[in-house]
């Protein structure tokens, strides 16, 4: 399937120096298990691509390859500097929400005060004001994911790899968080590779949906989502796209 060149994302402004992702027939094996095989996928700078597929189809492996956490056994993976938002929020239980969000700055050697000062405005802008001093255990699942996303954002990398960010949330907070994420990406545009098993989530958030086969994972379909934002899940065009994605997933 040819890539659609004129996606809505391509017209969005993106931070300077942003780079995309190019995965060219990449294969990754773990012992006898082939997690992904001859997988090819490109993400243009500033584009949001959702990857959907059945459980265990190598989605997380794909993200690890893109983030440089592992190397492909075969093929090529080229990506701009990428930050990972893991499936578990992995917030540090001893640090406050603000300090967790500012972790990428601290790790780079920024002082505590400067890191907090830098993180605080974005923290408030993304609807977290008032929770600066709260420990992760005091936050709801949705709030924890927000903090985790903010941490990913503050890593300052042009590419964001989101690994099933809302899988652990109930349906209501998930819908809530999807709106929030769409809004956050509107404010802070990045190249995004979003892995999910939720087709609706993919169509709500992405400029393009890539459907993966069961393991070993490879891209079996790519569906552009040329719908204006914010998207309504009851919109007819939306429903039609979701059906197409589900069909591709089932085939």
């Amino acid at each position: 399937m040819p890539f659609q060149t004129e996606t809505p994302a391509a017209r969005r402004p993106h931070p300077p120096g942003a780079r995309g992702v190019r995965v060219e027939s990449a294969t990754r094996r773990f012992g006898d298990v082939t997690a992904v095989e001859a997988l090819s996928l490109s993400v243009a700078p500033g584009e949001v691509v959702a990857v959907v597929g059945p459980s265990g189809c190598g989605k997380s492996t794909l993200l690890e390859l893109v983030c440089g956490l592992s190397e492909p056994d075969d093929g090529v993976v080229e990506a701009g500097p990428a930050a990972l938002m893991p499936q578990r929020d992995l917030l540090l239980p001893w640090a406050s929400a603000l300090d967790n969000a500012a972790l990428p700055l601290r790790v780079r050697g920024v002082s505590k005060a400067d890191a907090r000062a830098a993180a605080a405005p974005v923290f408030a802008e993304l609807g977290l004001a008032g929770f600066e001093g709260a420990r992760p255990s005091e936050l709801s699942g949705g709030m924890r994911q927000r903090v985790a996303f903010l941490r990913t954002l503050l890593a300052g990398k042009p590419v964001l790899c989101l690994d099933e960010p809302f899988a652990a949330l109930d349906a209501l907070s998930r819908a809530d968080m999807q709106r929030w994420l769409a809004d956050a990406l509107g404010r802070e545009p990045r190249t995004v590779l979003l892995v999910t098993h939720d087709v609706e989530e993919a169509v709500v958030l992405a400029d393009r949906v890539a459907v993966l086969s069961p393991r070993p994972g490879r891209v079996v379909a790519e569906l552009p989502v040329p719908l204006p934002r914010p998207r309504s899940v009851t919109d007819r065009a939306f429903v039609a796209l979701r059906e197409r994605a589900l069909e591709a997933l089932g085939s």
């Binding site: 983030c67 440089g68 956490l69 990428a82 930050a83 990972l84 893991p86 578990r88 992995l90 540090l92 239980p93 001893w94 640090a95 972790l103 990428p104 601290r106 790790v107 780079r108 050697g109 420990r135 255990s137 005091e138 890593a155």
Partner: protein, 246 residues
């Protein structure tokens, strides 16, 4: 509260046994006699307590310092860990009863051998629990830090060290509990003062109640140290209270 009732019940039973059981008071004094000894010999007990307490404090201090330092060094440097881990275990396998007199011969009758013996006993639980905990830091968290371009030192400072702190303090709690036993052994091996020395002296003098009083002071000191660390643990690690405890 319930703990206090249990102690009182045990003391009551002991008192009854000592009074009605026909045991010679020189062999097993009643709690009331031990209490009397505690009051009457308070000056003697206090002076000897100060000696033992400073031995214990210095010994634990040295053990904590060396234990943490060793754990961090072995954590950072695998070859060192491979080379010295058996030695670390060996340090605990040495029977203190045997080494104590030898250390006294080497280091003299003063403070030094006592501190060395206590440090030797306490070093192991501190070093091993800390080393284990450092190695058990969540792997996904470390992966995440790699994507944030964390250096080895950053990963240690922001993830491994705080994650290992609760276990390290638990190791320290085990250490203080045995430190007092170590102090008494060290004093048995050769000394001129301290509560262990006092016990050793009181028994042949048939001052059994005084010996028991010294035991009470030692036990109280160990319990106090343990709870002091417990409080420190809660103060330093408030997140373990909300997550780990009911």
């Amino acid at each position: 509260m319930i703990a206090l009732l249990v102690v009182l019940a045990l003391l009551g039973a002991w008192q009854l046994y000592a009074e009605l059981g026909g045991v010679d008071r020189l062999i097993l004094p009643a709690p009331s006699e031990i209490a009397t000894a505690l009051v009457e010999d308070r000056g003697l007990l206090w002076n000897n307590f100060l000696v033992t307490a400073s031995e214990v404090a210095l010994g634990i201090g040295a053990a904590l310092l060396l234990g943490f330092a060793c754990a961090v060094a072995l954590h950072f440097w695998l070859p060192l860990r491979r080379a010295t881990y058996p030695l670390l275990i060996g340090s605990q396998a040495i029977p203190i009863v045997i080494v104590a007199p030898l250390l006294v011969v080497w280091l003299g009758f003063g403070m030094a051998p006592k501190v060395a013996i206590i440090a030797l006993i306490c070093f192991f639980p501190v070093a091993v629990t800390t080393l284990d905990a450092l190695g058990r830091t969540d792997r996904d968290t470390l992966k995440l830090l790699r994507t944030l371009d964390a250096t080895r030192w950053s990963a240690f400072r922001f993830a491994e060290a705080p994650a290992a702190l609760p276990a390290a303090l638990s190791g320290a709690k085990i250490a203080v509990a045995v430190a007092v036993i170590g102090a008494v052994f060290a004093e048995y091996a050769g000394s001129s003062e301290g509560l262990g020395h006092l016990i050793l002296q009181s028994v042949p003098q048939l001052e059994t109640a005084r010996a028991w009083a010294a035991v009470v002071v030692l036990a109280a000191f160990a319990v106090l140290l343990f709870y002091a660390l417990d409080v420190a643990q809660r103060r330093l690690l408030p997140w373990t209270r909300t997550e780990g405890r009911p």
